[in-house]
Symmetry: D3
Subunit: 132 residues, 6 copies
Amino acid sequence: MATLGLIEYQDASPEVRAVYDDIMATRKTDWINNFWKALANDPVTLRRTWRNIKEIMGEGGALDRLTKEMIYVAVSVTNQCNYCIASHTAGARKAGMTDAMFGELMAVVGMANETNRLASGYQVEVDEQFKA
Amino acid sequence: MATLGLIEYQDASPEVRAVYDDIMATRKTDWINNFWKALANDPVTLRRTWRNIKEIMGEGGALDRLTKEMIYVAVSVTNQCNYCIASHTAGARKAGMTDAMFGELMAVVGMANETNRLASGYQVEVDEQFKA
Amino acid sequence: MATLGLIEYQDASPEVRAVYDDIMATRKTDWINNFWKALANDPVTLRRTWRNIKEIMGEGGALDRLTKEMIYVAVSVTNQCNYCIASHTAGARKAGMTDAMFGELMAVVGMANETNRLASGYQVEVDEQFKA
Amino acid sequence: MATLGLIEYQDASPEVRAVYDDIMATRKTDWINNFWKALANDPVTLRRTWRNIKEIMGEGGALDRLTKEMIYVAVSVTNQCNYCIASHTAGARKAGMTDAMFGELMAVVGMANETNRLASGYQVEVDEQFKA
Amino acid sequence: MATLGLIEYQDASPEVRAVYDDIMATRKTDWINNFWKALANDPVTLRRTWRNIKEIMGEGGALDRLTKEMIYVAVSVTNQCNYCIASHTAGARKAGMTDAMFGELMAVVGMANETNRLASGYQVEVDEQFKA
Amino acid sequence: MATLGLIEYQDASPEVRAVYDDIMATRKTDWINNFWKALANDPVTLRRTWRNIKEIMGEGGALDRLTKEMIYVAVSVTNQCNYCIASHTAGARKAGMTDAMFGELMAVVGMANETNRLASGYQVEVDEQFKA
């Protein structure tokens, strides 16, 4: 089979279930989204990816949850990853992103993608002031 | 000539000088970075780009300046635009980004770029919950 | 019409049929996938692209078929090209890619996309040792 | 050695020299740019790539040389490929691109990169009218 | 709601209607495509984006409409933006792009994406001649 | 300061030194490349990234070291990450990549980047056979 199926909780190994349980407990939800059910085909990657996400996206750091989710959306939009745009826009909404915030987020992401190309196309050299 | 030179203030037309003056006044600085001096070869693009940046990156919206600058860095890093990484990292620093914030910003950007590809590579379909 | 139709064998010119015949003979299959049927709208591009693919992906070189197909998947996932992910994952499967190999392939592709951005974001300079 | 050297004409095999000769004759120049000297480390890729470029970028098709070179620049800027931006901007200049044309080319490339992300970020579905 | 709805004309504010009216008048059409209906959720971005598009894609500059639309397609294909590929391929068709032109456009875009990576992968340095 | 300095071994905290020691022991080398010295500014990211790399790139899995390094190069070239191209091409060389292998790797990467865009540009739909 070219594509791998989604591993549902009832069909999962104890190792995979342990990750699923931790995802639901951490997120205070009672369901697992497809991303994790797909990764579960490779339990090593499932465990490593969840451990990393938990460390990076967790509370208590220098950036709040909403800011991190908006940065995640910015990257996903730039890469045109449909799944990630849908899931992390939902995540940012859950973390408090308003329509006005979403609008400004898109405006900055669009503008950054534009000026990134203007800078490269005009072959602009980095100013000494930015190297200091 | 394949590449265009940088237009310095003393060599600029009144139209270009007016944009330069507004950039310096808005940013409360006494210099213009190379990006604008390169765009000045096309005064229409210079004027339009500055007008857009001023509208998008200005104060008073739903997102604060620091958040916007970090989003700008996230996009620039994802696109691997060296000039923009240098200039907007400096901009974020100026807006208050600490070393700890920068570290977390990079962590999120790196992770998002990774999971974007895991989602696509595993051909994960968008959950109904994210479409609601 | 904005999009071009697919050119089926029975509707194809002798020139296009010759390429289709060679694709099926080379691949030992009795069908043509949509990519080629779309390219057939431009017979010059069809012929050139097939000639290149045949030269690059053929047997007998320094890299075996499976390795080449996995590299193809790595690029397609990085570019988020849905068609190419589907077709080349199938191609890699046909060439012997196991679930375990697919899992490791995705892990490396994900990690590489992450560290590519960490290297750029931290503005890391190339070590002298790598230039030697 | 991590990086491969450039193959100069005097050190090249007869096979590589034949390609170099054809490049110079076709372009009516007396030098070879570094791209080809690097590819010459793999004569098969050198020959295939030059054959493709000659077929695609040659005169007599539906698009003129200048339009093709500007499209080449548009792609290279979007991909942030410094070498290709430099070489194809020079190529477009040679084919007649004026400063005004370059300015408009950059404006379109920048804007397209922006609206590509707005379309994805807002998760816009394709209109029926565009599928017709 | 994770995704924003499309704002139809009858539900739009006077500010949004004014933009819609200008789009239809400028394009001599009687309908608005989904991109603008989605942006209308943020009237500031709607107005700015249309103003920019009108300035950049308008008639009377150094590049004709067809060339600009083909450049737009080249960028959208490189970024793999499905919406933009569909809408701007339609736009280029409307501006006069023939099947033969489309075929050559795709050929150049494909080739540029290939040689962009060959140049980077072989770590080719920019020739002095291209810096002049 | 806009850019962060490199943390040398003698200036590193015990936590960072422990990672450096493990890198050198695992790789059987006596030096640390700049990537890790830059990440050391954020010890949490340094530790996490090295742990991930060690798990993913280690021996004993379904893919051998050389294959993994070539996949890493394929991704880095596609993303145009200069640092990663230099470091992982060196890594692949060390793992046994010959000039012939490198040539074929580049050929596949280039071709994949080309056909990714042809597939998207022609708006090719995924064949049912690839979904099975």
